[in-house]
């Protein structure tokens, strides 16, 4: 139970934010004028869409980031490291809005440019985090494992990954929060996400809808964070 304790804070915060974006609660912010709260069905549709997009982007980034991180930390592929680092730094220097805008004429409106932005912007943090976590494994532990006769694959599975687990979970948490935030930007390319009521609210002064979009996006980020923290806690118990 104690392993799950760190997840309680984000979980409660996420639930509170989710409750705050319910139309009955958010409507308290102000009524009349342009302030019209979104209905619950519309909001849950948007949230589901947002979560699907963010989760697919996150899954892609996590696989690619972890995979590339594993590859470049193998001594055999050390030569690739510089090139992959440069490429990832380049991808990070291009802001998500610009990726979305550039992809618009090629990929059209909606989901695809958003997914591209998710992938481009998420790779570097995921890659750097993975490399950092794997490099934090002490060389002595690695040497000892090799000395008792483990194969490189066994060293990776039984020594490096368990020892780097907390760092890897950290990396996944950052990547998830980033994915949720970038998906909101996708609304500018016409993807229907929780960014849609925010952008529309900006244009027609609908503060309540803007607040609902913001709170719901933050709730998703915190709930996902709680889930990953819990998973990390469970993983650590298994390793210990």
């Amino acid at each position: 139970m104690r392993r799950l304790a760190p997840a309680v804070g984000p979980l409660l915060l996420g639930l509170a934010l989710a409750a705050a974006c319910h139309p009955a609660v958010a409507g308290l912010l102000g009524d009349g004028g342009a302030n019209r709260p979104l209905s619950l069905t519309r909001l849950s549709d948007l949230a589901l869409n947002h979560l699907t997009l963010a989760a697919s982007g996150f899954a892609f980034v996590a696989c690619l980031g972890l995979g590339l991180g594993l590859v470049v930390t193998r001594s055999r592929f050390a030569a690739l490291r510089g090139g992959i680092d440069t490429l990832a730094a380049f991808a990070q220097a291009v802001p998500p809005v610009v990726v979305v805008a550039l992809a618009l004429p090629i990929l059209g409106f909606g989901g695809p440019p958003t997914l591209l932005a998710l992938a481009a912007y998420g790779i570097m943090p995921a890659l750097r985090g993975t490399v950092g976590a794997l490099e934090s494994v002490s060389p002595e532990a690695r040497e000892a494992a090799r000395a008792v006769g483990l194969t490189p694959g066994q060293v990776l599975r039984q020594v490096e990954l368990p020892l780097a687990a907390s760092g890897l979970i950290e990396t996944l948490r950052t990547a998830f929060v980033l994915a949720v935030a970038v998906t909101a930007v996708g609304a500018l390319a016409g993807a229907s996400t929780l960014g849609t009521p925010i952008v529309a609210g900006l244009q027609n002064q609908n503060v309540v809808a803007m607040f609902q979009g913001t709170a719901a996006a933050a709730a998703l980020a915190f709930l996902g964070d709680a889930l990953l923290l819990a998973a990390g806690g469970l993983a650590r118990r298994e390793a210990a």
Partner: protein
């Protein structure tokens, strides 16, 4: 040895394959249409084979060999291929638009962008293998010089981005200045706030939580929230208007962007202050240094590279986030990007986006160079 050869052959195949498989150019009757795709042979003509050879030799050598001479040859081949590709594209565009109505556009397509970026990225990579310190900047300078030369010779004039640029030159210059002012202003504001927050010792945990919590709020929402808050404030106290405060424009954009920069700057500053180990701090205290002397003589020099790392991340983020400033009427390069998105005009989007990318990359390279210099100068 066999692995080297396989790697080299794979590297050699990449760019020529891309140039053949992907369309190099779209030819459209006006600036809003996508137009028809045109393949490499009909654009490059006689330049196709020398370009293909250089684009195979350069990356192939870079992937397959480790020597300095090979790296130098590879960098030169990539530079030549890059310049030849641009010249060929400009020439092809001129040939296709000749005799067409002035609204016709020859627009670079995916193959040209990806091929040119790969070749351009390979030049500093090879140059750095020849000379680790000076190679990168020299490679970048050589690339810039080749673009500048082609530009001055008028070889690129027929490309649609250049046509769009000539039509909006003044607008672009103004947007660029606004963008820089917005990003630097936000960076300065965030640095001031971070410095002030660092003085509040007891609130460190709270600041940590707030600053990282802010990152969860999407940027679009934060800007919108600030506009609403500012307009509520102004309607409650109209006297503020006389001080030049307004709900839309630069102020909310500056505050919003600065809010996101707090996290990298705060982490950088905290990391820098913790950089010296306990033994060095004890030694400094035993020598009778005052806390101020410890700060300027020990913590800041030892933490300089960590602090600069934070500034680098913040600067790159500021240049990117300033694009969103256009949403709240603060100007900047985002104006061109969003206008282009609204009109569905790819060249206008590019005209706004290319400078943003160039600025971010330049800031990233320059500040990481400074970071490395600080690490060399004050090794911890």
């Amino acid at each position: 040895m066999r692995r080297r050869i396989i790697l080299g052959l794979a590297g050699a195949a990449v760019v020529p394959t891309l140039l053949v498989l992907l369309p190099l150019m779209h030819f459209a009757p006006n600036r809003l249409l996508t137009g028809t795709a045109i393949d490499a042979p009909s654009i490059l003509g006689a330049m196709l084979w020398p370009l293909g050879a250089l684009a195979a030799i350069g990356p192939g050598l870079l992937a397959g060999s480790r020597g300095r001479l090979a790296a130098a040859i590879a960098a030169l081949a990539c530079l030549g291929a890059f310049a030849l590709l641009l010249a060929g594209l400009g020439h092809g565009a001129a040939a296709w638009t000749a005799g067409q109505p002035p609204a016709a556009r020859a627009r670079l397509a995916a193959g040209a962008w990806i091929g040119a970026s790969l070749l351009a990225a390979a030049v500093p990579l090879g140059a750095r293998r020849v000379d680790p310190a000076a190679g990168g900047p020299i490679g970048a300078l050589a690339l810039a010089a080749s673009v500048q030369g082609l530009w001055l010779a008028g070889r690129l004039d027929a490309l649609s981005v250049v046509v769009e640029f000539r039509a909006r030159r003044d607008e672009l210059a103004a947007a660029l200045l606004d963008h820089l002012a917005l990003a630097l202003g936000a960076l300065a504001l965030a640095a001031l706030v971070t410095g002030a927050l660092a003085l509040w010792r007891r609130g460190r945990g709270l600041v940590d939580l707030t600053v990282s919590g802010l990152q969860v709020v999407p940027a679009v929402a934060l800007l919108g929230g600030l506009v609403t808050a500012a307009s509520a404030l102004l309607s409650a106290a109209p006297a503020l208007r006389t001080y030049g405060l307004s709900a839309l424009g630069t102020v909310p954009a500056l505050v919003g962007i600065a809010a996101y920069l707090l996290l990298p700057l705060w982490r950088g500053l905290q990391g820098a202050l913790r950089a010296p180990d306990a033994a060095s701090l004890d030694a400094a205290r035993a020598l009778g240094l005052t806390p101020r002397q410890i700060l300027t003589g020990l913590r800041l020099p030892l933490g300089a590279s960590v602090l600069l790392g934070g500034v680098r991340v913040a600067a790159v983020q500021a240049l990117g986030l300033a694009t969103l400033g256009a949403l709240v009427g603060a100007g900047g390069l985002g104006t061109l990007v969003f206008d282009g998105m609204a009109q569905f005009a790819p060249d206008l989007i590019l005209l706004g986006a290319l400078p943003v990318i160039a600025l971010s990359l330049a800031a990233e390279r320059a500040l990481s160079g400074l970071e490395a210099a600080a690490r060399r100068h004050w090794p911890s």
